[in-house]
Every structure is written in structure tokens, then in C-alpha cells.
């Protein structure tokens, strides 16, 4: 699209005048956004802008001062700030432009990104491609519908983590934690090391949502009780929280009368799951999955809106930042390819699939004749012929949801709805098994993945079913 076209189409809009044009705009400077930026840059698109609303790059890693990041990516255990530091260094060394203190307020389907900052006021940018990397938010008390009074002292675990680790404030001294997700477990240890007493961690489900090693090193190391199948049924206190009532729950997660216990506390931390933060995605008209809460994407991590990509926790909640970075890298590669296509340059040859389609109607003016001759796959056409990935049985969801090419291996990430042991994970199309992997154990709290090799992918006829078969109990 020519610049003049954009100015014309935007004239009647209420958004700020478009003042800039940037090839790849990345919303969010956390691990997903930084990895996307670095990989887009290395893929040959250097006109990038990372927009970050915080005062510094790094996202949530800045407050995750504990260790355990980077085992896959860097083959060593790093703390959150160290992991972020590796990417910040790379962003700085490559000279990738970023702007902190910039709050994105709007994204449109034609990729106009509007942000506000103290020094520039409101600015709109026309982006060649947009990468959504806004991360997630924690489920709040309001979303959990916990009965009781509304005193001070009820925080999400991540809020408390920021207070303690970044700002140096202690939220309280006698703590109850609801939810045994990783952040809750990590915070149980953090608060203990800071001299607080963690009375208990209550988990509604009969199993913890966190990693087994975090139960060992965060709770067991400090003799903090984990109460499974328990929840908070009342919050007490007028100005400040003075205690909570906890109850055991039955198989349907309903509190069992007569099991109530009062625990005195001055702080209640909530670690009850993360929700992808897709307010901006919705504004752009991106279709969201009711299961993941994130965008519906193809294997290029491209959303239902052409040229808008999504990666990291805004796409689906990850357990490990290493996979967030991987996903960011994929996004960066494909967003830069999208930009190059629409500029009319040739796509890298390895990206050209055997079923390549030969023109791009949506942006035909921008595609040069050379590009047409090179049999470039265009996104609009590729996704119309996309292969759907259909999760079945205990497979709750998959990312990606569709596959647009058969020239490259595709790694499919998924989660299960319940635990199972000695299982076989299978991806099949028709009667053809494309990939089958045995796993010792799958659990809802742990994201799994399988890779379909390109040569097997080519044999796919229609949709790919993803399912799990359990070894029969003898």
C-alpha cells in the first residue's frame, strides 16, 4: 500500500494523524516481543518498533527474580532478570528501536497502531505487520467471586511479587495463598524468605496447577502446607483483612458444609490462573479461541486478520519462558516474511511450498512480477487452503489451530484436560498417522508438544486430528 492511500483511508477516522510508517510494530517488550523483534531483524526486516508500557523492557521477567529460566534456550538456569537481560542486550546491540512508557490504545484491522506516551502524546503508526505480545493478566478477586467483605490486603500473587521484588514493599506478615499455580508457589517461598509466615496454600482442584519442582522447593522446603481440594469461602475484616474461612470441596468443587476452618491472616494472595490480555486484539477484530482466550492462529502465528501475528502468553498461557521465546521467534520470521511479500521482494526459497499459489489478490499492486514468478505463497491464499488441527478427547486445545504449508516441520503445542499416564499422543489425518509419540505422563498444568515432520505433513488429507490414547490398565 502506498502512503498516500493510507492517508486517504484514514482521513475520516477519529484516531490521531498517522505520522509514522514502520515495517514491524511489536506490542509488548517482554520475552515474546523481544524474541520476535530480534528474529524479525535477523530475518532481514530492520525497520521495527517495540512498544512497551512499562519503564523498561523485560516484561514480567523483571519481577521473577527466582531461578529456573532458560534451561532449553541457553542450557543454563537463569533468573528472570538475567533471562530478560540476554534479550535486552541483543535488542540494544542490534539497535532495534523500542519505546518504553508507551501505552498502545488501539490497533485496527488495517494495522494502524495508536499509542500514547508522556513525551509524544498520541501517535498513530501504519505497520507493515503487527505482532501482538501483550502477555497475560492474573485472574482477580472479582473474577473469582470470593464471598466476604472487601478489605485491603487481598492481592493477586503477581501484584505482591512486583511490590516485593521490584519496589521492596512487604504486603503483609501472615499470608494465606489461594491457588497453587507457579506464581503462588514462588510467592510462598519469597514471602517466607522475607520473614513472613505463610499459613497455607489452598488449591480448589485435587492437584496443583504448578510444577512439581516448585511444590518441592517452595513449599516442602519451608514446611508450608498445601491443602488440595480446599478453597476460600469467606474473607473477614473491615479495613484490613483479618482472616479467611477455608473449606474443603467435593468432587464438583462445591464447599462441604462443616469443613470450615478460620485462618487468621493479614494478606490473601490469589494465584488462580492467567488470562491472555487481548483487549487490543479484539479492537483489531482478531478472532479469539474460547478455550485459550488467545487468538486463533495458523502455524505462522498469524491471526484471522492478515498481517497481525500473536505470540507468548497473549496467545496461550505458557509454563516456560523458553517456549515463549521460541514462539516469538516464529512470529518474527513470519511477520518479516509478510512484510517482504507486501513490499514485493522475494520470499526465502525454503518457505516456498510445493503447492505454492501464484498471486496475491489482496495486495496485487504491491507484488512485483518477480515475486509472482517466484511462486511465493501468499498468506491470504495459503490460509484459505489451510489444514485444520482438531483436538479430540482429553486434548483441550492446540496451537496452531491451522497449518498453511507443508514445506516445514510444524511443532504443535497442546494441553490436556486431565492427567494421564503412559499415553500415546497421535496426530493423524484420515487413516494416515502423521506423528505418534509416547509420553510417560501428561497433566493439565504442563504444556506438551509434538512435531509433525514436513514429509509426513505432505501426506495429510484434510484435517489433522490430535488425540491421546491411554495404555489400558491391566
Amino acid at each position: 500500500m502506498e502512503r498516500s492511500d493510507i492517508m486517504t483511508t484514514n482521513e475520516s477516522c477519529v484516531t490521531a494523524p498517522v505520522t509514522k510508517k514502520v515495517d514491524v510494530v511489536i506490542i509488548g517488550g517482554g520475552p515474546a516481543g523481544m524474541a520476535a523483534a530480534v528474529s524479525a531483524y535477523k530475518s532481514g526486516v530492520t525497520d521495527i518498533l517495540i512498544l512497551e508500557r512499562d519503564e523498561r523492557l523485560g516484561g514480567i521477567l523483571n519481577q521473577c527474580i527466582h531461578q529456573g529460566f532458560g534451561l532449553h534456550k541457553f542450557k543454563e538456569e537463569l533468573t528472570g532478570p538475567e533471562y530478560a537481560g540476554r534479550y535486552i542486550k541483543e535488542v540494544l546491540e542490534l539497535g532495534i528501536p523500542f519505546k518504553t512508557g508507551a501505552m498502545v490504545t488501539d490497533v485496527t484491522a488495517d494495522r494502524i497502531v495508536t499509542y500514547k506516551s508522556e513525551d509524544e502524546g498520541e501517535v498513530s503508526i501504519v505497520a507493515g505487520a503487527v505482532i501482538l505480545a501483550m502477555g497475560a493478566r492474573e485472574r482477580s478477586r472479582g473474577q473469582l467471586n470470593i464471598p466476604g467483605t472487601r478489605p485491603q490486603g487481598v492481592y493477586t500473587a503477581g501484584t505482591a511479587q512486583r511490590y516485593v521484588n521490584v519496589k521492596g514493599y512487604m504486603p503483609g506478615r501472615r499470608i494465606v495463598i489461594l491457588g497453587s499455580g507457579d506464581i503462588g508457589l514462588i510467592m510462598a517461598r519469597r514471602m517466607t524468605l522475607e520473614g513472613a509466615k505463610v499459613m497455607a496454600v489452598c488449591e480448589l482442584m485435587p492437584y496443583s496447577g504448578g510444577l512439581a519442582r516448585n511444590i518441592a522447593q517452595c513449599l516442602n522446603d519451608f514446611d508450608i502446607p498445601l491443602l488440595l481440594s480446599h478453597t476460600v469461602t469467606d474473607i473477614h475484616g473491615k479495613k484490613r483483612i483479618t482472616g479467611v474461612t477455608i473449606s474443603a470441596v467435593d468432587g464438583n468443587r462445591n464447599p462441604i458444609p462443616g469443613t470450615e476452618q478460620y485462618i487468621e491472616c493479614d494478606t490473601l494472595l490469589l494465584s488462580c490462573g492467567l488470562l491472555p490480555e487481548n483487549e487490543l486484539s479484539k479492537k483489531a477484530g482478531v478472532a479469539l479461541s474460547p478455550v485459550t482466550g488467545g487468538a486463533i492462529v495458523n502455524d505462522r502465528r498469524e491471526t484471522s486478520v492478515p498481517g497481525i501475528f500473536s505470540c507468548g502468553n497473549v496467545l496461550h498461557i505458557h509454563d516456560l519462558v523458553d517456549y515463549v521465546s521460541d514462539e516469538g521467534e516464529l512470529c518474527g520470521i513470519f511477520a518479516s516474511e509478510f512484510v517482504k511479500d507486501n513490499r514485493g521482494t522475494n520470499r526465502p526459497s525454503e518457505a516456498v511450498s510445493s503447492e505454492a499459489v501464484k498471486s496475491d489478490e489482496a495486495s496485487s499492486e504491491a507484488v512485483t512480477s518477480e515475486a509472482v514468478k517466484s511462486e511465493a505463497v501468499t498468506y491470504e491464499e495459503a490460509s484459505s487452503g489451510a489444514i485444520a488441527v482438531v483436538p479430540e478427547g482429553i486434548v483441550r486445545y492446540s496451537v496452531p489451530m491451522t497449518i498453511t504449508q507443508t514445506a516445514r516441520d510444524v511443532k504443535i503445542f497442546f494441553r490436556v484436560s486431565r492427567s494421564a499416564s503412559d499415553v500415546t499422543v497421535t496426530a493423524a489425518s484420515g487413516n494416515e498417522v502423521l506423528c505418534s509419540v509416547r509420553k510417560k505422563r501428561v497433566a493439565p498444568g504442563e504444556m506438551e508438544n509434538i512435531t509433525i515432520k514436513a514429509d509426513r505433513l505432505k501426506t495429510a488429507a484434510g484435517e489433522i486430528r490430535l488425540f491421546i490414547t491411554e495404555k489400558e490398565v491391566s
Binding site: V164, N165, K167, T192, G195, I215
Partner: protein, 116 residues
């Protein structure tokens, strides 16, 4: 005999460590050699890496730090109590030593982020 969860990586193997009459420790359930080493250490001298924060006197953010080697598990709370009294000042670079040889463990407390 001791059952434990390996904390070396996110897989979190369930380990069982058995000590025979000669004092030799046999570990099962581990998917990699690091698990065996971990279980042995848990029975003899359990160690952990400490991650914490210290105050920066000239900035409004805290400085994240860690022990650059694991320290005995029994010293975690004591070491953390010491760090809550320690002050540092920016600029600091990742890896800068903030406290040398914490509690005589041989491990240094080092910065885990850059603060300009």
C-alpha cells in the same frame, strides 16, 4: 529410603533414593544423571540457590541478586535475613559481587540485573 521430587529442571522427576548397609546411595526414577546427583545431595548435604533482592540506596527499584553457587538449604533463611540489611548502589552490572562469601559458604551474592 527417601522419596522426593527432583528440582533440577521443570520435568520434576519423582525420585527414590535408597541407602544400602555400606552407605551407598542408589537412586531410581531419574530421567537423567543430574537427578541422581540431586538425590544424593538431598540425603547428604541439601543445597539451594538463593535468589533475593537488596536495596539500592540511589534508585527506586530493588536490585535482584542470587548466590552464584548453591548454599546449604538450612542457611537460606539466615542468608535472606542478612540480605534484607544489605544496601547497594547503582550503577550495577549483572554478576557484580554484592556480598562476598555469604555465611562462609564460599558462595558470593551477585547481581542478576543491570541498573544504570
Amino acid at each position: 529410603m527417601a522419596d522426593m521430587t527432583c528440582i533440577i529442571c521443570p520435568v520434576g522427576c519423582s525420585l527414590t533414593a535408597l541407602k544400602d548397609e555400606n552407605g551407598v546411595i542408589k537412586v531410581t526414577g531419574n530421567a537423567c544423571p543430574r537427578g541422581a546427583k540431586y538425590a544424593e545431595a538431598e540425603l547428604t548435604n541439601p543445597v539451594r540457590t538463593l535468589t533475593d533482592i537488596v536495596k539500592l540506596t540511589n534508585r527506586d527499584v530493588m536490585l535482584s541478586v542470587k548466590s552464584n553457587a548453591p548454599i546449604p538449604k538450612s542457611l537460606l533463611l539466615e542468608a535472606a535475613a542478612i540480605l534484607s540489611t544489605v544496601n547497594a548502589a547503582a550503577p550495577v552490572k549483572t554478576g557484580d559481587v554484592i556480598v562476598k562469601d555469604i555465611l562462609g559458604t564460599g558462595a558470593d551474592i551477585v547481581a542478576t540485573k543491570d541498573v544504570d
